[in-house]
Structures are given as structure tokens and as C-alpha cells.
Amino acid sequence: MGTLTEAIPAATRTRRRGLRVRLTRDSLATLLFLLPLLAVFGLFSWFPIIRAFVMSVQATNLVSEPTFVGLDNFAQVLADPQFGIAVGNTLWFALLALVFGFPIPIILAVVMSEVRRFRGLYSALAYLPVVIPPVVSVLLWRFFYDASSRGVFNTILGWIGVGPLPWLQSAGTAMPSIVIEATWANAGATVIIYLAALLGVPRELYDAADVDGASIWQKIVNITLPQLRSVLLITLILQLLATAQLFTEPLLFTSGGPNNATLSILLLIYRYAFQNSLGGQYGMAAALSLMLAAFLAVFTAVYYRLTRGWSTSS
């Protein structure tokens, strides 16, 4: 019996050697192209993540030498009265954003998909708030939310005999005010995604439904939403992840007030790190960041497991 090498025709062996050489060359080229990306990712993403793990078990002001404190930072975060408040506020925001922020883009996309003329213009208008830098949006809305009777929104409400509302100046209305702005600022991107998915739904399904005498509502429930199921599940988890990381709006609108009514988990991380001018509690900030990241990772895994069956079209 001959060897395996002998059994392979000479031409094939030559081809394989050539392939190995090409693979090696290709791999080198690939690696070269990857290097900048790996360097940037390593420096600005992986290295900070590793540093965060290290800092979470240290007491450090980033100037003096750090000391190892074990899990003290985690214990201190969990014992902090502000932690419970921040978790509660973040859940409250997530709920409000889900109730108001999730269906609005779907409705807008469905309406826009039915419009034949100027669809591009409506898409652009819907997407426009996404283009505006978040800081600019917030400062603009802060002006609108002026709680005096001379404020923009309060003036408009005054025409119909409502208000003036305190908007950001009351613990009860501050968070809903933030949700309204956040929905305005972020809905456009989701509308575009839904619109693209909707336009991909086969027209024949609606034609067949028309033949069967289905109403608009029946068509939405039985055709549109099932066809959008995969997209809906993805956007829902993305929205939940985004709401759990609420930061810019409470920082710029209210600094977490009034009386911590809009203190989110990320704002609490920021407070740990940067509120004390004599050197922040960076260890606690890193600990809470890791706790949040771990929770979101587990939550996402569970979500995908639970919804795996739903995402395939029936």
C-alpha cells in the first residue's frame, strides 16, 4: 500500500502547495489590513475593558498608587442608597420608553409605507432629529421645556387653557419629559428600519387579503406584524439595551434631579467617577459599569433564547 502522498496525483499536490502559498500570502495581507483595526480596537475597546476589570477591585484616584480592595467596591455600590434609586429610575424610563417609544416608530412606518408621494421627504423629516447632535437637541428642548408661562410648550398649552406645566422642574414630570425628547430624537432611525422591512413585504399577501375581504387592522395584525417579527425583536432588544444606558438626557436636562428623580444607572456611574473634585471613586464606577454590562449580557442571552422560536417566520 502506498502512502497518502503517493496516492494524491502530482498535479493535485502542486495545486495544494500553491494554495498553501497563496493562503499564507492572503493571511499576511489580511493580517496587515486587520492590524490598524486590531490596534484601534485593542487600545480603545479591549484595553479599557480589561482596565475596568482591574479598577473594579482597586481603590484609586488615578494619581496615587492604587490599592487592592477585593470586592469592596461592589459591596459599596450595592449598599449605596442611590443605587436602588438609579435602578428604579432606569426601569421607569425603560417602561415609559417601551410604552411610548416602541409603537410610535411602527405606526409612523406603517403610515409612511402607505404613502405613495413624497415618501422620501417624509423619511428625511422623520430621520432629521437623528442627525441633530444629542447635546444640541437637549439644549433646544430645555428651552422648549421652560416651566414659566412664557415657555414655548407652556405658551402653546396656554392657548387651549392647559398648564403651565413644570416639565423638568418637578420630580413627577421630569422623567416623562425626558422620554418625550428621547422618543423624538431616536424614533427616526427605527422608522427607517421598519419602513425598509415593510417595503420588503410581498404585495401579493395584501392582494390576497383584499380578495378575502380583510380589514386594514386585520392586514396589520395578520400580515404586517408577522412579517416584521424578526426586525421587531431586534429593535426591541436594542431599545431595551439603549434605555438601560440612559445618560445624556438626564445629565444635560436635570443633572439627575429634582431630588434624584432622573438619576439613571449611568449617571450614577458618572457621579462616582467625576462628582468629587478631589478624585472620584473610580473603583466603584468601574464596579457598577461591570455589573450593568454583566446584567445586560445575561438579559440579552435570555431574551434571545426565549425569542429564538418567535423570530422565524411562521
Binding site: 480603545f44 475597546s45 488615578l62 422642574q169 449611568l266 478624585g279 473610580y282
Partner: protein
């Protein structure tokens, strides 16, 4: 995603922090820089320093005045190049810049941060350099102590001191039928005037800062004025939080009444230092408490109409412990610097901040540069050195004063008769931060329970104090 970004920011700040850089050049308490030899020869070599002296948003006239002073400095010290940077101390931005080592070579900090930064060696020991200037012993002892370590070595130089004041809008006073030359002298007067202004003009009669630690700062001011204290220090040096004292409760109760019964506080309850200045300068606020030196910032950043501005002393209760909260600013030198830069930094501090207070030539040159660019000269302040030196410096600039001095008389004629009380000494900014939500709750919740709020804040601050 934002969590990852925040984590990355914290970690990148950590990666960029000056932990690995040379530690401060002196052992604590020695007061001796490691490299004292060859300072003069090293100083002659070209050196560049950055100085944090421009407030963000400063007018072109303020920039021109600064450039003129830099030109004069560089003429006197031709080997030093000065690069001005925008700088405005706020707790979050300062913390990040400090940790990342990106502060300018010379920067300023409030009195409240001096001791902590010195203890943690986050600023440089400049004792021998300052003493070489020849006037270290002339500083007001209570003022210079903010920049000294426990052995008396100087790490930061006091450059300005202020007493809290009652700032009021003379135009709104007139519109409300009040006499702007006779500002409120008691807290009852303040409350009554606020009610009148709100009713007659539709503007906020009185406003209170409540965010970015300023709520706690102003509540402490009110507490001091009524004779209370936020901390007590035992014979053994142990600091006890006393946030839930009777005077703080009384101050909050008055705010509660003004907000919910008198309706005289307007509709904005999240002011910080910058935003309340802006609102005052635009005529939306009748009165508020703030530093006596606010006029400069309001002219440079908020386009204040000088005719609107009035300032008076804070009303004090008859209690023997009642006093005016006094604060101030220290100039400090960045740890991440060379010896030559440290020498140049102290030269700059001497030239830019000190000479105008100590010598006629320095005072006149400073005043001329400011006046030539329409910058305020003669804004009320408190003495850094002794009262005689202060009076002399005021005399030197008499011909250049361009602020409405007569409108400041209610403050300047009485402030030196009032006892000045320093800010809480231990964990000051954290104490202020714990009180912010208390002030916010009183201003935004009609049913806010003052006792419970203060007890909660006191417990939180005591826990911080116990940790040391």
C-alpha cells in the same frame, strides 16, 4: 453602548493618568523642592507654560486684556512663553482633567479643594519658590492656610477671597416699587421683597442655586447666616456631620414658604453657578446669594447691564455664631511639569495675581490693562493679605475704577464688620453634593419632609466622614 463608552472613558483616563509620572518633588512637610539648585540658570532656558485663565465664552475684550498682560509678562521674563487656555473650575471637569493629567501648568481651585489635593500630592509643593518672593509671611493666616499642608509648607497660593453676598437687580427693585439703595437687611425683608418683586414684575423675586453642588453651598451660606454649622470638629479631631441642625431647617422652611405660599421663587429650580448668573444678567431674578466677586463674570460672560447690578451683605441673625460664608481661589501648579516650568509658573502667579495686590506699579498696570479693554476694575473682594495692604491696593486703582461702585456700597461699607466663617473643612464638595437633592426636594415637592431629608443627608455625609 454608553456603558461601554463610560467604562472606556474611565479606563482611558486611568491609562492616561500621571501615576507613572514623577511624584511631587518634595516629601510632605519638608517644603523643599528636590531640585532647588540651578533654578536661575535653568530658568533662563526657554520654557513654555500653559495657564488656565480664560473663562469659556469670554468676550474678545477680556481676551485682549489678558493678551496685553501676557505681553507685559513675557517682556519681563523673555525666556518664558505663556499659552493661555480656557479654564473654568467645575467638579466633574476638574476631576477628569486632574486624573488624565491634562490640566494647564497653572490652574485655579476653590479653597475647599486645597487641603485634599495637598494631602494626596495632586498638586506640587511650591513652598520655597513662593517664600523666595519675599511676601509669604504677609498673607492673612486664615487665607493662606487653605493652601498649606500640616507643617505650614505652601502648595497653593491664595489669589482671591470673597464673602457671600446678596446680589440684587436694582431695575426690578425699582419696577416693584422698592428702594434699590435700601436693600433687605433681614431675611424677613428678603422674603417680603421677593414676594413684592414676583407680584409686581412677574419675575422670580428670589432664586436659589440647586445643582452641581451649589445647592449645598448656598444652603450652607444660609445656615451660617443664621448661626448654624454643617460640621463640628471634636477635641480628638473627629469630624461630625451636623447637617440636620436647627438653622438649616429654618433656612429650608423659609425657602419652602417662599416657594409654595409666597410663590416668589419663579419656575426654575435647577440653577447652577453659571445659569443663575445668566438668568440674573438677563433680568429674570430679583435676588440671589452668591460671591461678592460675581460682577466680573457677569460682565465677561453674560453681558450684564451695570445699571441692574446691586450687591449687599447677607443678612445675619443676632446669634453670636452667625457669620458670612467666606471662600476663595487658590492658584496651583500641575504635578506633571518640569522644574523650569514650576519656576515659570510661580513667576506667573506672582506677576498675574499677586503684584496687583502688593505693589502700586503692579496694581496700576493691571488696572490699566483691564480698563483699556472695558474689563471691570474695582470689584468687591476680601483681603488676601492684611487689611492695610488691601486698603492700599484699593487706593492705587482708585482712578481706574469703572464698576458702579456706589451700587456696591451696601456690601463694601458693611462686609468688614461681619465675621467671615470658612467653609466646612472635611469632604466639603461631597457634603454640598449630599445637600443638593434636599434643596431640590424643597423647591419641587410641596410636601417635602425637611427633617427626613436632612436626616438622610446627614447620615450619608457622616458615612463619608467616617471613611476618612
Amino acid at each position: 453602548m454608553i456603558a461601554a463608552v463610560l467604562t472606556a472613558v474611565v479606563a482611558i483616563v486611568a491609562a492616561c493618568s500621571p501615576v507613572a509620572s514623577p511624584s511631587p518633588t518634595a516629601a510632605p512637610g519638608t517644603g523643599q523642592p528636590a531640585a532647588t539648585a540651578g533654578a536661575s540658570s535653568a530658568a533662563q532656558a526657554p520654557v513654555t507654560i500653559t495657564v488656565g485663565v480664560l473663562r469659556p465664552g469670554a468676550t474678545q475684550e477680556a481676551v485682549d486684556a489678558l493678551n496685553l498682560q501676557i505681553t507685559e509678562f513675557e517682556a519681563k521674563y523673555p525666556w518664558i512663553t505663556v499659552v493661555p487656555q480656557e479654564y473654568n473650575w467645575t467638579a466633574p471637569t476638574f476631576t477628569a482633567a486632574l486624573a488624565a493629567g491634562t490640566l494647564p501648568v497653572v490652574f485655579t481651585i476653590p479653597f475647599t479643594d486645597g487641603k485634599g489635593l495637598i494631602a494626596q500630592h495632586q498638586i506640587i509643593n511650591i513652598d520655597s519658590r513662593v517664600r523666595a518672593l519675599g511676601y509669604a509671611d504677609k498673607f492673612n493666616k486664615n487665607v493662606i492656610s487653605n493652601g498649606q499642608d500640616t507643617s505650614g509648607a505652601i502648595w497653593a497660593v491664595p489669589i482671591a477671597a470673597y464673602g457671600m453676598s446678596l446680589t440684587y437687580n436694582r431695575t426690578l427693585f425699582t419696577q416693584a416699587g422698592l428702594d434699590p439703595n435700601n436693600p433687605p437687611a433681614t431675611w424677613d425683608d428678603v422674603q417680603a421683597a421677593a414676594k413684592t418683586i414676583a407680584a409686581k414684575t412677574g419675575m422670580a423675586g428670589y432664586a436659589e442655586m440647586a445643582t452641581e453642588n451649589t445647592g449645598g453651598w448656598q444652603l450652607t451660606t444660609s445656615t451660617y447666616a443664621l448661626g448654624g454649622r454643617m460640621e463640628t470638629v471634636g477635641a480628638d479631631g473627629k469630624v461630625t456631620a451636623t447637617l440636620n441642625n436647627d438653622q438649616t431647617k429654618a433656612a429650608l422652611a423659609r425657602l419652602q414658604t417662599m416657594r409654595w405660599q409666597d410663590n416668589s421663587l419663579g419656575s426654575t429650580f435647577d440653577y447652577a453657578w453659571g445659569t443663575i448668573n445668566q438668568a440674573f444678567a438677563s433680568g429674570q431674578i430679583g435676588m440671589f446669594t452668591g460671591g461678592s466677586d460675581l460682577y466680573t463674570a457677569m460682565v465677561q460672560n453674560n453681558n450684564l447691564n451695570p445699571a441692574d447690578y446691586g450687591v449687599s451683605v447677607i443678612p445675619l441673625a443676632s446669634s453670636p455664631t452667625a457669620g458670612v460664608l467666606g471662600g476663595g481661589t487658590l492658584a496651583a501648579v500641575n504635578v506633571v511639569t518640569t522644574d523650569a516650568q514650576r519656576d515659570a509658573a510661580v513667576d506667573w502667579i506672582d506677576f498675574y495675581y499677586m503684584q496687583k495686590l502688593l505693589t502700586q506699579a503692579g496694581a496700576v498696570a493691571d488696572a490699566q490693562a483691564l480698563k483699556a479693554n472695558n474689563q471691570p476694575v474695582g470689584v468687591p473682594s476680601l483681603p488676601i493679605f492684611d487689611k492695610a495692604t488691601y486698603d492700599a491696593s484699593q487706593g492705587w486703582i482708585k482712578d481706574f475704577i469703572n464698576v458702579p461702585a456706589a451700587q456696591m456700597t451696601p456690601f463694601t461699607s458693611k462686609i468688614f464688620d461681619q465675621p467671615i466663617v470658612t467653609e466646612p473643612t472635611a469632604h466639603t464638595q461631597e457634603l454640598y453634593a449630599a445637600l443638593d437633592p434636599v434643596v431640590q426636594a424643597v423647591l419641587t415637592d410641596k410636601n417635602a419632609d425637611i427633617n427626613a431629608l436632612l436626616d438622610g443627608a446627614n447620615k450619608a455625609v457622616q458615612a463619608i466622614l467616617d471613611k476618612g
